[in-house]
Assembly symmetry: C2
Homo-oligomer: 108 residues x 2
Protein backbone atom coordinates (compact mmCIF):
# COMPACT_ATOMS: atom_id res chain seq x y z
CA UNK A 1 0.00 0.00 0.00
CA UNK A 2 1.11 3.61 -0.49
CA UNK A 3 1.36 5.96 2.49
CA UNK A 4 -2.03 5.68 4.20
CA UNK A 5 -4.51 8.51 3.82
CA UNK A 6 -5.95 7.74 7.21
CA UNK A 7 -4.60 6.05 10.31
CA UNK A 8 -7.16 4.60 12.70
CA UNK A 9 -6.19 3.88 16.29
CA UNK A 10 -8.35 1.61 18.40
CA UNK A 11 -7.77 1.44 22.17
CA UNK A 12 -7.30 -2.11 23.43
CA UNK A 13 -6.31 -1.21 26.95
CA UNK A 14 -7.45 -3.73 29.57
CA UNK A 15 -7.98 -3.06 33.27
CA UNK A 16 -8.91 -5.59 35.92
CA UNK A 17 -12.64 -6.36 36.16
CA UNK A 18 -14.37 -4.02 38.59
CA UNK A 19 -12.10 -1.03 37.98
CA UNK A 20 -14.48 1.95 38.41
CA UNK A 21 -13.71 3.69 35.13
CA UNK A 22 -13.70 0.47 33.15
CA UNK A 23 -11.58 -0.09 30.05
CA UNK A 24 -12.01 -0.35 26.33
CA UNK A 25 -11.02 -4.03 26.32
CA UNK A 26 -13.76 -4.75 28.85
CA UNK A 27 -16.21 -3.15 26.41
CA UNK A 28 -15.16 -5.41 23.56
CA UNK A 29 -12.47 -3.45 21.76
CA UNK A 30 -10.53 -6.54 20.67
CA UNK A 31 -13.51 -7.75 18.63
CA UNK A 32 -14.22 -4.21 17.43
CA UNK A 33 -10.64 -3.88 16.20
CA UNK A 34 -10.83 -7.18 14.31
CA UNK A 35 -14.18 -6.26 12.78
CA UNK A 36 -12.95 -2.84 11.68
CA UNK A 37 -9.89 -4.32 10.00
CA UNK A 38 -12.10 -6.76 8.08
CA UNK A 39 -14.58 -4.06 7.13
CA UNK A 40 -11.85 -1.76 5.84
CA UNK A 41 -10.75 -4.54 3.49
CA UNK A 42 -14.29 -5.53 2.50
CA UNK A 43 -15.18 -1.96 1.59
CA UNK A 44 -12.13 -1.50 -0.59
CA UNK A 45 -10.27 0.82 1.75
CA UNK A 46 -7.36 -1.50 2.45
CA UNK A 47 -4.95 0.45 0.28
CA UNK A 48 -5.89 3.81 1.78
CA UNK A 49 -6.39 3.17 5.50
CA UNK A 50 -4.23 1.54 8.17
CA UNK A 51 -5.87 0.31 11.38
CA UNK A 52 -3.77 -0.15 14.51
CA UNK A 53 -4.39 -1.25 18.07
CA UNK A 54 -2.96 0.87 20.86
CA UNK A 55 -2.57 0.95 24.60
CA UNK A 56 -4.65 3.41 26.62
CA UNK A 57 -6.05 6.38 24.69
CA UNK A 58 -7.00 8.04 28.03
CA UNK A 59 -10.75 7.91 27.78
CA UNK A 60 -11.46 4.76 29.75
CA UNK A 61 -14.86 5.86 31.03
CA UNK A 62 -16.01 6.79 27.53
CA UNK A 63 -14.70 3.80 25.65
CA UNK A 64 -14.51 2.26 23.25
CA UNK A 65 -12.17 5.09 22.21
CA UNK A 66 -11.04 5.42 18.59
CA UNK A 67 -8.89 8.13 17.01
CA UNK A 68 -8.73 8.86 13.28
CA UNK A 69 -5.56 10.56 12.11
CA UNK A 70 -4.36 12.79 10.52
CA UNK A 71 -7.76 14.37 11.09
CA UNK A 72 -7.16 14.31 14.88
CA UNK A 73 -10.79 13.26 15.28
CA UNK A 74 -11.50 11.27 18.42
CA UNK A 75 -14.56 9.09 18.95
CA UNK A 76 -16.23 7.87 22.15
CA UNK A 77 -18.47 4.90 22.84
CA UNK A 78 -17.87 3.25 19.49
CA UNK A 79 -19.76 -0.03 18.98
CA UNK A 80 -19.67 -2.61 16.20
CA UNK A 81 -22.89 -1.12 14.81
CA UNK A 82 -21.08 2.17 14.18
CA UNK A 83 -18.29 0.75 12.05
CA UNK A 84 -20.09 0.77 8.70
CA UNK A 85 -20.87 4.47 9.00
CA UNK A 86 -17.35 5.18 10.24
CA UNK A 87 -15.93 3.48 7.14
CA UNK A 88 -18.26 5.05 4.61
CA UNK A 89 -18.56 8.57 5.96
CA UNK A 90 -15.22 9.25 7.55
CA UNK A 91 -12.63 6.83 6.20
CA UNK A 92 -13.88 6.94 2.60
CA UNK A 93 -15.38 10.42 2.29
CA UNK A 94 -13.63 12.38 5.03
CA UNK A 95 -16.81 13.35 6.87
CA UNK A 96 -16.47 12.68 10.62
CA UNK A 97 -19.42 10.97 12.31
CA UNK A 98 -20.70 13.81 14.45
CA UNK A 99 -22.81 11.74 16.84
CA UNK A 100 -19.77 9.75 17.97
CA UNK A 101 -17.39 12.64 18.55
CA UNK A 102 -15.55 12.67 21.87
CA UNK A 103 -16.96 15.49 24.01
CA UNK A 104 -14.58 18.35 24.73
CA UNK A 105 -13.47 17.06 28.11
CA UNK A 106 -10.00 16.63 29.54
CA UNK A 107 -8.09 13.52 28.55
CA UNK A 108 -8.02 11.28 31.66
CA UNK B 1 -4.60 17.06 29.77
CA UNK B 2 -6.52 18.87 27.02
CA UNK B 3 -6.90 17.31 23.58
CA UNK B 4 -3.33 16.43 22.54
CA UNK B 5 -1.62 18.58 19.95
CA UNK B 6 0.39 15.62 18.78
CA UNK B 7 -0.14 11.87 18.91
CA UNK B 8 2.98 9.71 18.69
CA UNK B 9 2.67 6.07 17.69
CA UNK B 10 5.54 3.68 18.36
CA UNK B 11 5.51 0.23 16.75
CA UNK B 12 6.00 -2.55 19.29
CA UNK B 13 5.32 -5.42 16.94
CA UNK B 14 7.31 -8.57 17.71
CA UNK B 15 8.17 -11.34 15.26
CA UNK B 16 9.97 -14.59 16.04
CA UNK B 17 13.78 -14.31 16.11
CA UNK B 18 15.26 -14.97 12.69
CA UNK B 19 12.32 -13.61 10.69
CA UNK B 20 14.03 -12.12 7.59
CA UNK B 21 12.46 -8.68 7.77
CA UNK B 22 12.90 -8.40 11.53
CA UNK B 23 10.58 -6.44 13.78
CA UNK B 24 10.55 -3.23 15.76
CA UNK B 25 10.41 -5.11 19.07
CA UNK B 26 13.54 -7.02 18.11
CA UNK B 27 15.23 -3.66 17.58
CA UNK B 28 14.35 -2.43 21.05
CA UNK B 29 11.08 -0.59 20.57
CA UNK B 30 9.74 -1.46 24.04
CA UNK B 31 12.62 0.42 25.68
CA UNK B 32 12.36 3.21 23.10
CA UNK B 33 8.67 3.63 23.87
CA UNK B 34 9.33 3.82 27.62
CA UNK B 35 12.15 6.31 27.12
CA UNK B 36 10.07 8.52 24.85
CA UNK B 37 7.23 8.63 27.35
CA UNK B 38 9.66 9.68 30.10
CA UNK B 39 11.32 12.25 27.90
CA UNK B 40 8.01 13.82 26.89
CA UNK B 41 7.25 14.36 30.57
CA UNK B 42 10.75 15.54 31.45
CA UNK B 43 10.71 18.14 28.69
CA UNK B 44 7.37 19.56 29.75
CA UNK B 45 5.37 18.17 26.84
CA UNK B 46 3.16 15.88 28.90
CA UNK B 47 0.11 18.11 28.59
CA UNK B 48 0.49 18.53 24.81
CA UNK B 49 1.61 15.14 23.50
CA UNK B 50 0.23 11.61 23.89
CA UNK B 51 2.50 8.63 23.21
CA UNK B 52 0.98 5.26 22.37
CA UNK B 53 2.30 1.83 21.52
CA UNK B 54 0.81 0.04 18.52
CA UNK B 55 0.91 -3.25 16.70
CA UNK B 56 2.64 -3.42 13.32
CA UNK B 57 3.09 -0.11 11.49
CA UNK B 58 4.08 -2.04 8.33
CA UNK B 59 7.71 -1.05 8.06
CA UNK B 60 9.35 -4.02 9.74
CA UNK B 61 12.55 -3.89 7.72
CA UNK B 62 13.01 -0.18 8.46
CA UNK B 63 12.15 -0.21 12.14
CA UNK B 64 11.98 1.14 14.65
CA UNK B 65 8.98 2.82 13.01
CA UNK B 66 7.32 5.83 14.62
CA UNK B 67 4.44 7.95 13.32
CA UNK B 68 3.63 11.46 14.51
CA UNK B 69 0.06 12.55 14.02
CA UNK B 70 -1.82 14.68 13.02
CA UNK B 71 1.20 15.63 10.92
CA UNK B 72 1.12 12.20 9.22
CA UNK B 73 4.91 12.18 9.47
CA UNK B 74 6.46 8.72 9.57
CA UNK B 75 9.96 7.96 10.80
CA UNK B 76 12.28 5.00 10.09
CA UNK B 77 15.17 3.54 12.03
CA UNK B 78 14.53 5.58 15.16
CA UNK B 79 17.01 4.96 17.99
CA UNK B 80 17.11 6.19 21.59
CA UNK B 81 19.71 8.77 20.55
CA UNK B 82 17.16 10.41 18.25
CA UNK B 83 14.51 11.00 20.88
CA UNK B 84 15.79 14.29 22.24
CA UNK B 85 15.78 15.88 18.81
CA UNK B 86 12.38 14.36 18.04
CA UNK B 87 10.97 15.94 21.20
CA UNK B 88 12.54 19.36 20.78
CA UNK B 89 12.25 19.85 17.02
CA UNK B 90 9.07 18.05 16.09
CA UNK B 91 6.92 17.57 19.19
CA UNK B 92 7.63 20.98 20.66
CA UNK B 93 8.27 23.15 17.60
CA UNK B 94 6.51 21.29 14.81
CA UNK B 95 9.61 20.82 12.65
CA UNK B 96 9.91 17.20 11.48
CA UNK B 97 13.36 15.62 11.76
CA UNK B 98 14.26 15.32 8.08
CA UNK B 99 17.08 12.81 8.46
CA UNK B 100 14.72 10.26 10.02
CA UNK B 101 11.86 10.53 7.55
CA UNK B 102 10.52 7.26 6.17
CA UNK B 103 11.54 6.99 2.51
CA UNK B 104 8.71 7.14 0.00
CA UNK B 105 8.35 3.38 -0.37
CA UNK B 106 5.27 1.17 -0.24
CA UNK B 107 4.00 0.21 3.19
CA UNK B 108 4.82 -3.49 3.63
Amino acid sequence: MPKPERHVLVCLNARPPGTPKGSCAEKGSEALFDRLKSLVRERGLGSRVIVNRTNCLKHCSRGIAVAVQPDNVWYAGVTPDDLGELCDAHLREGRPVERLLMPDIPWE
